[in-house]
């Protein structure tokens, strides 16, 4: 089954839409889905042109396609456990919150909290992602716990905060403090970032570009070779964050370390 949701023009296009109902299992049979536009509850049909093609007997046969002005729609794919959602443009905050299986493909950019506290499945963002990609909710002790998030562009600050499992791959640059409070899982940053892995206690983070300034609380622990994007890199291995009795692993490109060694006596 293919469900196409095309946004209708709105009088106040900046007011956010909260649409946690847009998940494959909700389209198996005809039901009256509602979404919120600001503080008003609306029928799905009031905000979208809905087209349904073909049948489906289980949620994994459902594919939802979102098109139009979708950058302000929040919580799409929240708690999704099967099927596929394809977003032709940008998507709002909290896309794929708590998802446990299935796939979300975003052709444009994703706003903050992409894949918040995700448990499984896969998210591919072809554009850039906002802050707190793969992170947890405020005060939550665990962020993403399983599955994969891959972002082809850049991502914002605090990427993979409290990462506890699964894999976050950012091909571009990250902002400040990626992998902060990380406790498990894998974070791969293809580009540059600053202050990676503050206060980490576990997991592995790999920075292929310039890691910016490194925090003083990482202990050098040999080197290793890794492969990323079909190329091999010689990486310096650090263990930390020792300020937090951390046993995490931070891999930083050896060349990036050598070019900075004038400033850092540990190297």
């Amino acid at each position: 089954m293919r469900v196409i949701l095309k946004t209708r023009p709105r009088k106040k296009p900046h007011v956010p839409i909260e649409a946690e109902g847009i998940i494959p299992q909700n389209f198996l049979r005809k039901n009256d889905l509602t979404v919120y536009e600001g503080n008003r509850e609306r029928n799905l049909e009031d905000l979208f042109f809905v087209t349904v093609e073909g049948p489906a007997v289980s949620p994994d046969q459902v594919e939802i396609i979102l098109t139009g002005d979708t950058g302000r729609i929040k919580r799409v794919g929240e708690y999704m456990n099967a099927g596929r959602i394809i977003i032709e443009g940008d998507i709002g905050m909290h896309c794929g919150n708590f998802m446990s299986a299935g796939e979300i493909i975003i052709r444009g950019n994703a706003d903050a909290w992409l894949g918040r506290e995700m448990r499984g499945g896969r998210i591919l963002c072809e554009g850039t992602a906002g802050d707190y990609c793969g992170a947890g909710y405020r005060g939550e002790k665990r962020g993403m716990r399983g599955g994969t998030i891959e972002v082809m562009g850049n991502a914002g600050d605090f990427v993979a905060e409290y990462l506890s499992g699964g894999e976050v791959i950012i091909h571009g640059n990250c902002g400040d403090l990626p992998g902060v409070e990380m406790r498990g899982g894998t974070l791969v940053i293809g580009g540059n970032c600053s202050r990676p892995c503050g206060n980490m206690t576990g997991g592995t983070c790999m920075v292929i570009g310039d890691p910016g300034e490194l925090l003083p609380s990482f202990r050098r622990n040999g080197s290793t070779e890794v492969e990323f994007g079909g190329k091999k890199f010689r990486m310096a291995v650090f263990r930390g964050d020792v300020a937090n009795r951390g046993k995490g692993t931070l891999l930083v490109k050896e060349e990036a370390i050598i070019s900075r060694s004038g400033r850092d006596e540990r190297l």
Binding site: R40, M93, A112, Y137, R138, G139, E213, A243
Partner: protein, 428 residues
Amino acid sequence: MRIEDVVCPFCGCLCDDLVVSVEGTKVLSVENGCTLATEKFTGDHRLAHPIRRTGGAWEKTTYDDAIRETAEILLDAERPLLYGWSGTFVEAQTLGVHMAELLGAVIDNTSTVCHGPSIMAIQEVGHPGCTLGQVKNRADVIVYWGANPIEAHPRHMSRYTTFTDGFFVKSAFRERKVIVVDIRETDSSEIADEFVKVTPGGDYAVLTALRMIVRGKGDLVPATVSGVTREQLFRVAEICLSARFGAIFFGLGLTMSRGKSKNIRNAIELTEELNRHTKFTISPMRGHWNVYGSNEVFTWITGYPYAVDFSRGIAFYNPGETTSVDLLRRKECDACLVVASDPGAHFPRACAEHLASIPTVQIDPHVNATTHLSRIQIPVAVTGIDAEGTAYRMDGVPIRTRKLFSTGYPDDVAVLGRVYSLVKEAKG
């Protein structure tokens, strides 16, 4: 007439020992207060009556019309924002939160551009704090981090720390050590025993280095961390470790610089680490006199301290999503009620521009920068001068402010109560 034990409604210190001389409705003099207090009590630029913008000009309007139009604007909006609250008393704040729930609005207070990150950090790792009385009577090491009390909280040092003797600190001048951490020399750093100059945005790394030293991992600390030498870091750690009772006070230099809530979290974790060796506490230097009260009120009604979104009928909180600056920057709001604060002066330009483009109503005694962005302004009495009400000091102690004289202005509760009644009537 001389009135004693007057509470100052300016900063979070909420000094309660002022002596104010008044004649009729005029303040003649203020004793004991700092310059800021004197200015607050004697300043007199009050708006005489409600005003309303028509075309390009202001016209005089009545309280009845202004209140009715305010209720209509809020009821009509799909994403109204009720912002401010830190410059009024808790009874008015309570009304605000109940009104936000009825309207399905977002309600936010000035912590959002101030100590909001501190609260986020406290939600992650807790708050080893204490009252200012404990600091006054016990603390022999005081740390001001990213704060300049001499200019921002002028009586903090003379009432609670450096310049006042306490029960267990008989001679403050000799016994109390003061450490100031900042990115530049200030009036406060000049009287410090140890001034730590950090490169801007480098606080997180300095806090991490101090945690390492206290934990016994000092061998890993490089020669300099964010502009601070290894020797000084060890010296500072030694002063803290040899304290009988230490108190860290931090300001916006820590909350609003790079790293934000993570800086505070790191500072709290340093405090926890020091508590394995001696007694240490940490407290924010709150700005507005009743900003702590707004956090208290919001929390006891909704469970969240600021940035509470009622659009789905239940309280939702997520700084970065439901905070005023983010809402306005993304142009989400279609109406705004500003109570007892001045976002026009403090918010980024893009936010002020959006406030000007939507119907914004201000409830405030004075003409300020937000007036120029508003459609309607309703003047009210100034709490602590011609109205009374409860406020919370920066350490969470509630203090009732006093009314010195009557002017005939309604207070915030009177005005908000009438808006609330109209909203309640419409919502059924």
